[in-house]
């Protein structure tokens, strides 16, 4: 990250050419443009890219806090509410002096925050209404002031429009310098106050008991956010700047559960979106940078929304389906075990098979359905079928699994009747659910608690640990013929 700031500072020495879009300068041949992009020849391109990356980094980092604190639309409010401040700053300095504009904008942002909290304290308006109200009325005042400035004889509106739509290509060295300063400040403060901010974000009360000044910290993070928004507005515009705060951070929020990783990831995603957006807008003549940055971010978000390893929608659906299929397989194995047990053969000889008819009777389903289950078991390597397809044998792994499940089931039944005083005829359904979930360690504890029982409440034997783990060894030694 420091490296990037260095690059940005180096780039500041270059002059800047004002092109309305990054791609305006040359021919529209996409391939040629791509080559030009990666050769980093143009000064204006380098400035624009540095600016975009800095904005992505800064907004991504601060967005992490905004999103976890459920203040996502505060960014939206601030970005609109600073408009009157920007215009007044411009008016005061009579030029587009970034420092004056920044001061004006920060003051307006502070005023907006102050008015919101005052409204929240003194009226019964809901927080969302207050946000929308402050946003729109400050913005209205800003637009009105903008009109006044444009009427002035001196009021060459020079570049104030830039704040509304943003022009990454029109960034000057000074603008990028401001972005670098804002980003550096955010990095330093977030690094320095990381633990305090963690307390602020997740447990204000805890932070207070530690003696931290929560109000002050809130002010610091809001000020940083306002600063980030103001400098970023020149690159992406007033509406889309809140996207740069929210989208990378929400994407990171779907990918990790740890705050430091979330911040890092969010910053990286912000930069990636900014880079892709800048590159994309360089490819064609009519492609504005800001919207492309946001859309690139939205694509990342969509990918995370669907395929995030833990929180993705598709991933979760697949995981559920896998779990259901596993439970189904285990139930079939259990039924096979039960049939063999009824024949007095369970654990005696794995060479004995179960007919399809017996299995379907045990599972109370049609032979066709059972055939489906058997195919599933064979595919999973838990059972084999005789030549004619009617008799089913355990594989060693299948037998082991079947015993483990039966053991889980019967131990849980016993635990419920003994420890929780359930009557024996009320425990089956619960055991049916939990047998697929119990881990090995839990089962061991259960068995110890129940003093290594041998029969369940219904008088059926509980397979022992040795019986489960012994099977595999025995099979290997015995070299059973059905394989």
């Amino acid at each position: 990250m420091r490296f990037l700031i260095l690059i940005a500072l180096l780039l500041l020495t270059e002059g800047s050419a004002n092109a309305s879009r990054i791609g305006d300068v040359g021919e529209v041949d996409a391939w040629g443009q791509a080559v030009r992009f990666f050769s980093f020849q143009d000064a204006s391109l380098r400035l624009a890219l540095a600016g975009a990356l800095l904005v992505g980094l800064n907004c991504g980092l601060l967005g992490g806090y905004v999103v976890v604190r459920r203040m996502a639309l505060v960014g939206d409010m601030l970005s609109h509410a600073v408009l009157p401040g920007i215009v007044l700053g411009f008016l005061w300095a009579q030029t587009k002096d970034p420092v004056a504009i920044l001061i004006g904008a920060l003051l307006a942002g502070a005023a907006a925050t102050g008015v919101s909290s005052l409204l929240a304290r003194t009226t019964r308006l809901k927080p969302d209404a207050i946000q929308g109200l402050v946003l729109a009325s400050f913005y209205g005042v800003g637009i009105c002031l903008l009109g006044l400035v444009q009427n002035l004889p001196t009021g060459a509106k020079s570049g104030l429009d830039k704040f509304l739509f943003g022009q990454a290509a029109g960034l000057s060295g000074n603008d990028v310098m401001m972005m670098a300063v804002a980003t550096g400040l955010s990095l330093v403060l977030v690094g320095w106050l990381y633990h305090d901010l963690l307390a602020l974000s997740f447990h204000r009360g805890f932070g207070q008991t530690l003696g931290l000044k929560m109000g002050l910290l809130h002010g610091v993070i809001m000020l940083l956010t306002a600063f980030a928004i103001i400098v970023a507005m020149q690159a992406v515009g007033v509406v889309l700047v809140s996207a740069m705060l929210i989208i990378p951070a929400a994407t990171a929020y779907l990918l990790t559960d740890r705050m430091h990783r979330l911040l890092g990831l969010s910053a990286v995603l912000g930069m990636a979106a900014a880079g892709v957006g800048a590159f994309g807008s360089f490819l064609g003549n009519n492609l504005p940078t800001g919207p492309l940055m946001v859309l690139a971010g939205a694509l990342f978000f969509a990918a995370a929304f669907l395929f995030s390893p833990r929180h993705g929608w598709v991933t979760r659906v697949l995981r559920q389906r896998r779990r259901r299929a596993r439970a189904e397989r285990e139930n079939t194995l259990k039924a096979m075990h039960r049939v063999l047990e009824d024949h007095g053969l369970a654990g005696v000889s794995v060479r004995e098979g179960v007919t399809l008819a017996e299995l379907s009777a045990q599972r109370r389903e049609s032979v066709g359905e059972s055939g489906e289950r058997v195919r599933d078991l064979v595919r999973a390597g838990l059972a084999t079928v005789s030549q004619d397809g009617h008799i089913l044998f355990f594989t060693p792994a299948g037998e082991q699994r079947a015993r483990a499940i039966v053991r889980n089931h019967r131990l849980w039944e016993l635990y419920l009747t003994h420890a929780a005083s359930f009557s024996p005829d009320h425990v089956h359904d619960q055991a049916e659910e939990i047998e697929h979930v119990l881990g090995e360690e839990t089962v061991r504890q259960l068995s110890r608690r129940l003093d290594f029982p041998e029969v369940d409440p219904h008088g059926r034997p509980i397979p022992t640990v040795d019986a489960i783990h012994g099977v595999g060894a025995a099979t290997e030694k015995g070299g059973l013929g059905y394989q």
């Binding site: 996502a72 969302d128 889309l240 779907l254 009519n286 492609l287 919207p291 929180h311």
Partner: protein
């Protein structure tokens, strides 16, 4: 009647503006030339006499927009959907562009279809993100409307040659840019087409809020009870959102995407500061709409800035007034209860 009402509030407007000008002059020091001289003839008299043909329609237009938005806005506030209004006002943009590109015209039909579809799509996407991931509702709103708005701006840029939508017009909107010249005659009265369209939209909104008053009321305050009555809260929700998109589109041309949020929230918020009864709130919202549009047009004429923004500024002023009144009321209650 209208003129009388207008004259009644004029004195107040002048007082308010005068004070505003004074404070600004103090604050900004050397920027006295920022506030144009107050020309009584041009600002106050002309709109009601010589130029009534233009400014009368503008005030009516502003009033219609603010009323329609205010009526829906009351429900948005009650249902804590104020920011969904914000979202939809931005995300109808790609719908407008898509409607234009598919049907190839800027007619009212394609625009409305595109916008209503975009509005419903926004609602569906927000719900989808919110209910199928751990992203919170506020972030879901932000993601959805920013992405859709970005898509809209991109489409406008790519098809710049074909689409007449100007991105700036979308953001600002401007009462005086509305095509006032297109006249249509309805019932013997010749009126500008945009006013007719907005009038119809406002009429539909008023009619629907009137017809389904009970359903909206119950489902806003107690969704469970509404469901028990068989009102189908989801249908009501989506209908409300479709209605919102319709109003937003109809208002687009005159006020723009961002200022429409002010129109949605300000009347309702002002009314709810002053009353706890919904019918009273509706009345107050309409009054707020009327006052702010008349005051706003005068303010805009005086300052020479965007009339739509001036209407918002006037509305903000009225909100401030209501806030002050409600604060004083509260203090009086506190004093009375303290002494008793």
């Amino acid at each position: 009647m209208m003129a009388l009402c207008g004259l009644g509030v004029l004195g107040q407007a002048v007082g308010l503006n005068g004070r505003l000008a004074a404070t600004e002059a103090v604050v900004t020091g050397g920027m006295l030339d920022l506030i144009p001289a107050f020309d009584w003839q041009k600002v106050v008299v002309a709109p009601w006499t010589v130029d009534i043909g233009l400014y009368g329609w503008m005030m009516l237009m502003a009033f219609l927009v603010t009323t329609a938005c205010g009526l829906i806005g009351n429900y948005l506030l009650l249902r804590r959907l104020a920011l969904v209004g914000d979202a939809i006002s931005h995300s109808v943009l790609p719908g407008l562009v898509a409607g234009f590109l598919i049907f190839g015209s800027l007619g009212i039909g394609p625009m409305l279809v595109g916008a209503v579809l975009a509005g419903v799509l926004t609602t569906v996407l927000i719900e989808l993100i919110h209910s199928h991931s751990r992203v919170k509702a506020d972030a879901a709103i932000g993601i959805t409307f920013c992405s859709l708005f970005a898509l809209g701006v991109l489409l406008i840029n790519v098809y710049a040659g074909q689409v007449h939508l100007d991105a700036e017009c979308v953001l600002y909107g401007e009462l005086s840019h509305v095509p006032w010249a297109e006249q249509v005659t309805v019932l013997g009265v010749s009126m500008p087409l945009p006013v007719l369209v907005m009038g119809v939209a406002t009429g539909i909104v008023a009619l629907l809020t009137g017809l389904f008053y009970k359903e909206l009321l119950i489902s806003s305050f107690d969704a469970g009870l509404a469901a028990a009555f068989g009102f189908r809260p989801r249908v009501i929700h989506y209908t409300l959102m479709a209605m919102l998109s319709l109003v937003v589109v109809a208002a687009f041309e005159s006020v723009g995407a961002i200022l429409v949020i002010a129109m949605l929230i300000l009347p309702g918020a002002t009314a709810q500061l002053l009353s706890t009864r919904l019918p009273v709130c509706f009345g107050l919202s309409v009054a707020h709409a009327a006052l702010s549009s008349v005051l706003g047009v005068h303010l805009g004429l005086w300052l020479g800035c965007s009339l739509a923004a001036a209407v918002v500024v006037a509305g903000t002023g009225l909100f401030g007034l209501a806030w002050g009144v409600s604060l004083m009321g509260r203090r009086r209650v506190e004093i009375e209860s303290g002494s008793a």
